[in-house]
Symmetry: C2
Subunit: 237 residues, 2 copies
DNA sequence: TCCCAAACTTGATACAGATCAAGGAAAGAC
DNA sequence: GTCTTTCCTTGATCTGTATCAAGTTTGGGA
């Protein structure tokens, strides 16, 4: 998708209109947002924000995938969040964020300058409430991930990761038998799951051998046996 | 401390007055809260909320320590949060929570019935903002913990845990050379850090042998060399 | 079209932390 | 004060995943 397409897009036509921070806005509020917003596209691998950098813009992710990453003194890294379309970057009342934000694939953001946006939040309970909901959703996701990182085996981690992508990409559709794209390299997946890239590779292939998933190209996955996948996550039903 | 003490306590005298959800309330708002609130004390080990149970009350933790725990199908458990005085339980717009809340030590809560509290939140921007801040603080803490669970060694995990307790218990005081209490058993610490109780025990003793910490009783710790402790966490300065 | 670099797979080996096992110390019960 | 249980420590061994080390595939650029 071209940035120029977005530059002309009206909020009413936005693909993330019903899930993003603006989900509950009415026509009047959209008119205000139209004036405030600007689109920006990043190439895969680009740094969107540096840790600690004061953030000039807050933004909704419109297309693509981005990652939140932390780094230890000696270079070990851990992804602490994955941003998919409709997710929000930046928080009310916070100058900076404690992690790097990196474009995993090509990414398009719908950006608002922080100061006018915060003013809008103060005046618009809709938006403040929606921001709170998004923060609580992130908190729930972070806690599920803590369970994964602390207690799950490598196989369970990979199964949970695939299941998460199925749920989020297929949206409402209940069956996961649509082939879909892995948005990350093995190395990035390893960073997300607290593993090494070799272990990720081995476990993907183990799930393939067991007839749970199938590959059509390195990044093209199909879930062959959804029940077996769910079982392999280790989660309660 | 006796519950009866709390039953009579006025908000102005509350030990968590300046950090809890009510931090920015004025005298008028305190009067509303006084009418709404009730104290309840739980013994160590008591279940405060069950996962999925619709929660009748939201609450601030006044004294003691509580834990948020998740459990896998086969019984593996992982703590996904630790509640210390001034932390809040329950979220606006959420019926239930996705984890069990358990009293780690004896715990006293300052409770509000959910429906009237949510009404108050809608009418009082102070409180809504403070709730948002608390949620974002929790999110930051959850992300730090993801880094710990995914990438830190057992020694780094223990050092980080002790450092966290020093920072939070000593509050503003910069030097950590006050002895203090571990609020949990080795087994609970293991659940928090994604380890086993044996590994926790060994690493505590290793830090003791290395002159970083000292024990005066099983649960009484003193930080002997704060700089060495911070170094052992693996974090950036 | 071929080349090259990045991404991935596969194998061999090492090791941190889990697991299994036994005994000791503290704290509450009676 | 003694009993009993819970909590903690220490040792021996095992194992899942990291690490080290080649290869192989893939896709994009010249």
């Amino acid at each position: 998708m071209q940035p120029v397409k977005f530059a002309a897009m009206r909020c009413g036509d936005c693909p993330i209109r019903h899930r993003a921070v603006c989900a509950r806005c009415d026509e009047d509020e959209f008119q205000t947002l139209e004036k405030l917003k600007s689109y920006k596209t990043y190439a895969a691998g680009d740094m969107i924000y540096w840790r600690g950098e004061p953030l000039e813009y807050v933004a909704s992710l419109v297309t693509g995938v981005a990652q939140l990453s932390k780094t230890l003194e000696d270079g070990r890294t851990q992804m602490v969040g994955l941003l998919l379309p409709s997710d929000f970057i930046g928080r009310p009342g916070r100058e900076a964020v404690g992690f790097d934000v990196i474009a995993t694939t090509e990414v398009t953001l719908c950006r608002f300058q922080r100061a006018p946006f915060e003013k809008l939040v103060d005046e618009t309970p809709h938006i403040a409430q929606r921001l709170m909901e998004l923060a609580l959703d992130e908190l729930d996701a972070a806690r599920d991930w803590m369970m994964l990182l602390g207690r799950k085996t490598a196989r369970e981690k990979i199964a949970t990761f695939v299941d998460m992508l199925v749920r989020r990409q297929n949206g409402a559709s209940p069956n996961g038998d649509q082939p879909f794209e892995l948005p990350m390299t093995r190395d990035q997946i390893a960073n997300y799951l607290g593993l090494t890239l070799e272990t990720v590779s081995r476990q993907f292939n183990a799930l393939k051998r067991d007839g749970v998933i199938a590959f059509t190209g390195r990044k093209h996955i199909e879930v062959v046996d959804l029940a077996a996948l769910r079982l392999a996550t280790g989660d309660d039903v």
